[in-house]
């Protein structure tokens, strides 16, 4: 399997996970939240500084349908994470690749 094909499939799986599989995510408290509730330190949590973010709690603001809203938030999150990580990797490769003068140090990134 070519690297390009692999990347396309991996991205498709990732987008499906964030956009569709996330519909079926459990809405129960996670392990830490459960322990905090049971042992009584959940109330020490403060209101989140970004709680008025249009994507707060993995809900896209203004989208009525809960599944669509969550799926959209997930896809946006994947895109933003990809852009941030991609940018970081690009900078790291440009700076950290003084050795082999192959002339095109960043071209394999755009697959």
């Amino acid at each position: 399997m070519s690297l390009r094909r692999f990347a396309v499939i991996a991205l498709a799986v990732t987008l499906l996970t964030a956009g569709v599989l996330s519909w079926f995510a459990s809405s129960n408290p996670d392990g830490l939240e459960r322990v905090a509730q049971t042992l009584g330190f959940a109330q020490t949590a403060q209101e989140h500084a970004a709680s008025d973010s249009p994507l707060a709690d993995y809900r896209a603001e203004g989208v009525e349908d809960a599944r669509l809203s969550g799926g959209l938030a997930g896809v946006i999150g994947v895109v933003v994470t990809g852009l941030l990580m991609g940018g970081l990797l690009l900078v790291l490769r440009r700076r950290g690749d003084p050795g082999p003068p192959d002339g095109r140090p960043t071209s394999p990134d755009r697959s």
Partner: protein
């Protein structure tokens, strides 16, 4: 597992932020050496997959859920330095865009998921891999073992921070027992997802798996062995 603002006091949060910054700085140096035309795309894919995977909270019984931490998954696929960077990026996006994990607790969450989960998972993976036979299945099994161990290890690290700077007076043994018992169960889910993903990548492109390097022969090497065996048969 995302710690919200307020669980830990300010000195503890500042201390974890310093440790997180030092860890990320070390990862930036380490990652620079590891980056090549194979690890770079894998590191990007790992970051987006961990973000997506962390959205999938799965039920673990009694009205409680867990989700992938992804530290071991990222370390086995991309190497531990790039894994630390990937987790840090995911946690930053979650804290600022999705209000998941406090902003003053960002350092704490990077320490827990970007350092403790990644490195305990990676070290356990390496130990398990050295015990097992050299095969693609061994890489997957070792990744599952590392993933399983990383979750209670991360939970224990949270309890240690809570013992130092927790904002509520609760016997620490009680917190430790509760955290470890839930996260041992969540660790099983972590192990299953990690095995599924690592096993899939090992099956199609073993050369892309950082944790399989030096263990599995690449396809070129296998082909040469086949050729030489054929030549041996004809002469």
């Amino acid at each position: 597992m995302h710690v919200p603002d307020g669980f830990l006091d300010v000195p503890t949060s500042v201390a974890t932020a310093v440790v997180a910054a030092a860890g990320v700085a070390a990862a930036l140096r380490g990652a620079r050496r590891e980056l090549d035309e194979r690890t770079t795309p894998i590191a990007g894919l790992v970051a987006v997959f961990v973000f997506a995977g962390q959205m999938i909270t799965f039920p673990v019984g009694a009205g409680t859920s867990g989700h992938l931490l992804g530290g071991t998954l990222a370390a086995v696929l991309a190497g531990p330095w790039l894994a630390t960077l990937a987790l840090a990026v995911v946690l930053i996006v979650q804290a600022f865009l999705f209000a998941d994990g406090g902003i003053t607790a960002l350092g704490t969450n990077v320490v827990l998921m970007g350092l403790v989960a990644v490195w305990t998972g990676w070290i356990t993976f390496r130990a398990a891999r050295s015990i097992l036979r050299r095969s693609s299945r061994a890489v997957t099994v070792a990744a599952a073992v590392g993933a399983f161990v990383s979750v209670p290890a991360t939970a224990a690290a949270f309890v240690a921070l809570f013992a130092v700077g927790g904002q509520a007076q609760i016997p620490i043994g009680t917190v430790l027992t509760a955290m470890l018992s839930w996260h041992a169960v969540i660790g099983v889910g972590e192990a299953l997802i990690t095995a599924l993903v690592v096993g899939s990548v090992v099956a199609v492109r073993p050369d892309l798996v950082a944790g399989a390097r030096g263990v599995l022969a690449g396809p070129t090497l296998e082909l040469r062995e086949g050729v030489s065996a054929g030549e041996g048969a004809t002469t």
